[in-house]
């Protein structure tokens, strides 16, 4: 075990509770799916009035990652590894996350404040990862990425700067919730600072919620899993010591529903998609900051997923999961299975698979 990953996880767990203390929605100190959805709404790409805010944490992740990667000479514009397929996977990861109500990181943070529904979510997430691993074991690959011209790596950091400028300027065309989770937020500078710190630390440590569970199961490598354990333990400790809202129960949890089956299935879809993407939404955000245009396209897939989820009534709410959301999750699983299956078949049918020169010869 390397201590850096435990320190990183501890920092994320603590900052998440601090952000809630200073105004972010309960059990939502940091949530990539929720915050991307809020940004999508603030830009008017969906009109769900309760979830619209230009969350500075997400651009903070991107810029923190960008800055530390540039300093460490790890910033490298790259892409070309099945961008369209990644967009689709990102889309359905978001659908799954919004049926559960949170990304895998928020699942850990919810559990750290006693929300037992998150336990079913995490079991589902793990099931999705196990499913994805079967594809990887059979040679699944989305192909190589290649070095790209500089502009490709700068789009996301510049977009992040633009989002922060909008969050500060609050122009009339942007939407800001007056009620609901979107109206709850920590002060802009605190959110931005926390985002920058988390982005930088996660770029250095490669912390990934899907990777942590995947590596433990596939490779018996527990390195990243220690980071996830640290998020949970630091979050639990912080919630018990100064959070003030710890409640060990299924019912009555903030921004959550108690439909166990769909908490499980929503996160199963998110986990499955994340493994096929090579990383969870949080990790994709960090990669987008360090110049990975494929991860950036995945983020745009998340944005599209959020827009569809709220424009077409797919997203869950504390009242439960709408029928359309259930149909979307099942459809998403079919699409993800098809993407994975086709990738495996195309590798098996070629002597020179995308998965590396030599294997299969």
């Amino acid at each position: 075990m390397q201590w850096s990953i435990v320190v990183a996880g501890t920092l994320v767990g603590l900052l998440a509770v601090v952000l809630v203390k200073f105004g972010n929605p309960a059990n939502m100190g940091v949530c990539v799916a929720c915050f991307v959805r809020d940004i999508t709404g603030a830009l008017g790409l969906h009109r769900a009035e309760t979830v619209q805010y230009l969350r500075p944490e997400i651009p903070g992740f991107i810029l923190g990652s960008f800055a530390i990667a540039a300093m460490g000479k790890e910033f490298r514009p790259r892409g070309g590894s099945s961008p369209l397929v990644r967009f689709v996977l990102g889309f359905f990861v978001m659908i799954g996350a919004l049926v559960f109500l949170g990304c895998p990181l928020r699942a850990i943070l919810r559990l750290a404040n006693g929300d037992l529904n998150a336990l079913l979510g995490l079991v589902g997430f793990t099931t999705g990862i196990v499913t994805g691993i079967q594809f990887i074991r059979n040679g699944y690959s989305l192909g190589r990425s290649y070095r790209l011209p500089m502009a490709n790596g700068l789009v996301m950091p510049l977009l992040a700067v633009g989002l922060i400028a909008l969050a500060a300027a609050k122009p009339a065309f942007a939407f800001f919730s007056q009620k609901g989770p979107g109206s709850l937020h920590a002060p802009l500078l605190l959110s931005l600072a926390a985002g920058l710190v988390i982005g930088a630390v996660l770029q250095r440590t490669r912390l990934c919620t899907a990777g942590g569970i995947r590596d433990a199961l596939l490779l018996k490598d527990f390195h990243l899993l220690w980071g996830l354990a640290a998020i949970f333990m630091a979050g639990t400790a912080a919630n018990l010591i100064f959070g003030g809202t710890y409640k060990l129960a299924f019912a009555g949890q903030p921004v959550a529903h108690t439909d166990g089956l769909w908490n499980f299935l929503g996160m199963m879809l998110a986990g499955w998609g994340s493994v096929l993407l090579g990383g969870c939404p949080l990790r994709q955000t960090i990669l987008a900051g360090e110049g990975d245009a494929d991860a950036a396209v995945t983020l745009l897939g998340l944005v599209a997923g959020a827009a569809f989820a709220h424009n077409f009534g797919l997203a869950a709410s504390p009242a439960g999961v709408p029928l359309a959301g259930k149909v979307a999750v099942i459809a998403g699983m079919a699409v993800v299975a098809a993407i994975g299956g086709l990738a495996v078949l195309s590798v098996k049918n070629t002597l020179l698979p995308a998965g590396g020169i030599g294997v299969g010869q």
Binding site: R76, S141, L218, D221, G355, G356, I357, G358, V359
Partner: protein
């Protein structure tokens, strides 16, 4: 059959490690792994070291060559 030279450049997690594992399952080494990201370099290094292999890292511009041997 796996090759003794694995070109894992540009591949997403966890493919570089999986290809390394497949090669080391067939040969006991030496195996050479080419990667072009720091994450892949660290992951392959950590995996090979945990299996008791020695790893020598050679930087060649944007490519990192990991020589894995017993």
């Amino acid at each position: 059959m796996a090759s003794k030279i694995i070109d894992a450049r540009g591949l997403s997690c966890p493919e570089p490690v999986i290809l390394t594992k497949q090669a080391l399952d067939v040969y006991s080494g030496p195996v050479e792994v080419l990667v072009d990201s720091c994450t892949a370099r660290e992951n392959v290094h950590r995996f090979a070291s945990s299996r008791g292999f020695k790893v020598e890292i050679i930087e060649e511009g944007e490519t990192t060559r990991l020589a894995v041997s017993k």
